[in-house]
């Protein structure tokens, strides 16, 4: 067979040609039998076009329902029980760190190994940074602790010195008041004496004039007249002397008033200095009304007041502590960013006699040291408000 094949190449070629022709014929027949792949489905009849108005009216109920839903949701939000708190929540939400959210890395398509090594390096760097930050915080904490210790020591020292100073101040205030009363009395006395003398002089003059008019000049009358003239001269001299005394007293009174005013100024300056030291220790880094609020908070004035009220056996002290507590609490609730609120509080202090009551209580020796400290600190805060406002 193989010999035959090898010897008849022309025949093989013929067979191959025959096979090719058969294949071509079969393919052609198959193509004819199958439907062409690109043949399109017959087109349907086009639908009749809808009217736009019909479509619109069809969706009107849905639109109305959507509006109703929107209105209902607004009403729900406004009327639900958590609505009043929304202002606080919104204020809180504003503090969210959006940077952290937006700085998320984008989806990376780089080689995972390179990516991981990069992340590792970043993590190592982050850890080093964190360690540095922790060290810095530790240092800061140590400094803050030292500062606090120092502040506490200063306040303690201040309060120790304050006891004597407060007593001195109270004594001075008492002396000033006594001095003022004495001056007023002295002025009144001088005025009274002058008035009496003037009355006396007027009466003597009248008596003399009447005597001269009523009686003719006889030797007896002349004697009487001479006596009256002497009386008049004495009265005039007395009046002159009293007038001189009155002038001197007036000069002395003016001097004393000036000295009193100077003393009050000195007292205020001293008190301001004490307040400055107190605030520097109790509210470091703060200024204005905020420093007073911070000092009140840091020195736990309200907590101490509650404890003092429970301990106090004196009704007057209890009442004063209760009044001062309310005043301080109102100060604590004050919005320091609202100037009108600060002004209103200042007016409240001006109308109230709380500072005078604190002064009076500080002047009393009967009040215990703890209460005295509290009263003095409260006075520093409240007078500070008046000073700043």
């Amino acid at each position: 067979m193989s010999d035959q094949n090898n010897t008849t190449p022309g025949r093989v070629e013929g067979l191959l040609r025959q096979w090719g022709a058969d294949e071509a014929a079969n393919q052609a027949a198959a193509e004819l039998a199958a439907p062409p792949a690109t043949r399109k489905t017959p087109k349907r009849e086009p639908k009749p076009r809808r009217s736009p108005m019909r479509t619109f009216f069809k969706w009107v109920p849905a639109g109305l329902a959507a509006s109703l839903l929107l209105a209902a949701s607004i009403v729900f939000m406004r009327t639900s029980e958590f609505a009043p708190q929304m202002s606080y929540e919104l204020a809180h939400d504003r503090n969210v760190d959006y940077e952290a959210v937006t700085s998320q890395p984008a989806d990376k398509t780089i080689d995972p190994i390179v990516d991981l090594s990069g992340e590792l390096a970043a993590a190592i760097q982050d850890a080093a940074d964190a360690r540095k930050q922790a060290d810095a915080l530790q240092t800061e904490l140590t400094t803050v602790k030292a500062d606090k210790k120092s502040s506490d020591a200063t306040i303690k020292e201040l309060l120790t010195e304050k006891a004597g100073l407060a007593a001195k101040l109270a004594h001075k205030v008492e002396m000033d008041k006594a001095h003022e009363i004495l001056l007023a009395k002295s002025e009144q006395n001088t005025r009274d004496v002058k008035k009496k003398l003037e009355t006396k002089l007027a009466a003597a003059q009248k008596q003399l004039v009447d005597a001269l008019a009523a009686k003719p000049k006889t030797p007896d009358n002349a004697k009487e007249l001479a006596a009256l003239k002497v009386k008049l001269t004495v009265a005039v001299d007395e009046l002159k002397r009293q007038q001189a005394t009155f002038r001197l007293a007036s000069i002395e009174t003016a001097k004393a008033k000036e000295a009193l005013a100077a003393l009050k100024v000195r007292q205020n300056v001293t008190f301001d200095q004490i307040r400055r030291v107190y605030l520097a220790a109790a509210a470091p880094g703060k200024t204005g009304i905020a420093s007073l609020q911070t000092a009140m908070k840091n020195r736990r004035l309200l907590n101490r007041c509650s404890a003092l009220q429970q301990k106090s056996r004196n009704d007057a002290d209890k009442k004063l502590l209760a009044r001062a507590e309310v005043i301080l609490m109102r100060f604590g609730l004050l919005d320091v960013s609202d100037p009108s609120a600060i002004k209103a509080y200042d007016q409240l202090l001006a109308k109230s006699d709380i500072i005078a009551s604190l002064d009076a209580a500080l002047g009393q020796r009967a009040t215990d040291a703890e209460t005295q400290d509290w009263l003095f600190e409260t006075k520093l805060i409240l007078t500070g408000v008046q000073r700043i406002a």
Binding site: A62, T79, E81, S352
Partner: protein
């Protein structure tokens, strides 16, 4: 399809409206809040507290506090509620005072009155 969407929207809106409860504007009992009058009463109540007249202040605050709440004035609502608790505490209604302070803390947690309420609550809970 549009019918289904409409039905869904109506149902959801109905749900919201039923959630509005009594405080809905058309519920009948809600009247417009006279905020100026409420503020005047509140100031008067504070004056009473300054004079240690807690009972009179309490009566005013009980009336005024819900009005601020109703008007959506969170700041004054929180403050008036705190002072209400304070008056109750001073008048020895301790349980009611505690409840009021807790109310302030829960409803206005970030406010200054809430901090003060917490301080007073802690002081009340300490054994004397």
């Amino acid at each position: 399809m549009h019918k289904r969407i409409t039905l869904l929207l109506v149902l959801v809106a109905g749900g919201f409206l039923s959630g509005c409860g009594k405080s809905a504007p058309w519920a009948g009992q809600a009247e417009p809040v006279d905020i100026a009058q409420a503020m005047a009463d509140y100031r008067d109540a504070l004056k009473r507290i300054d004079k240690l007249e807690y009972a009179t202040a309490l009566v005013k605050l009980e009336r005024v506090s819900p009005l601020f709440d109703q008007a959506g004035d969170g700041t004054h609502a929180a403050e008036s509620l705190f002072w209400l608790g304070f008056c109750r505490e001073k008048l020895q209604y301790e349980d009611m005072a505690r409840e009021t302070y807790v109310d302030v803390i829960e409803r206005y947690p970030l406010s200054k009155p809430a901090k003060y309420a917490k301080t007073r609550l802690d002081a009340m809970n300490q054994p004397s």
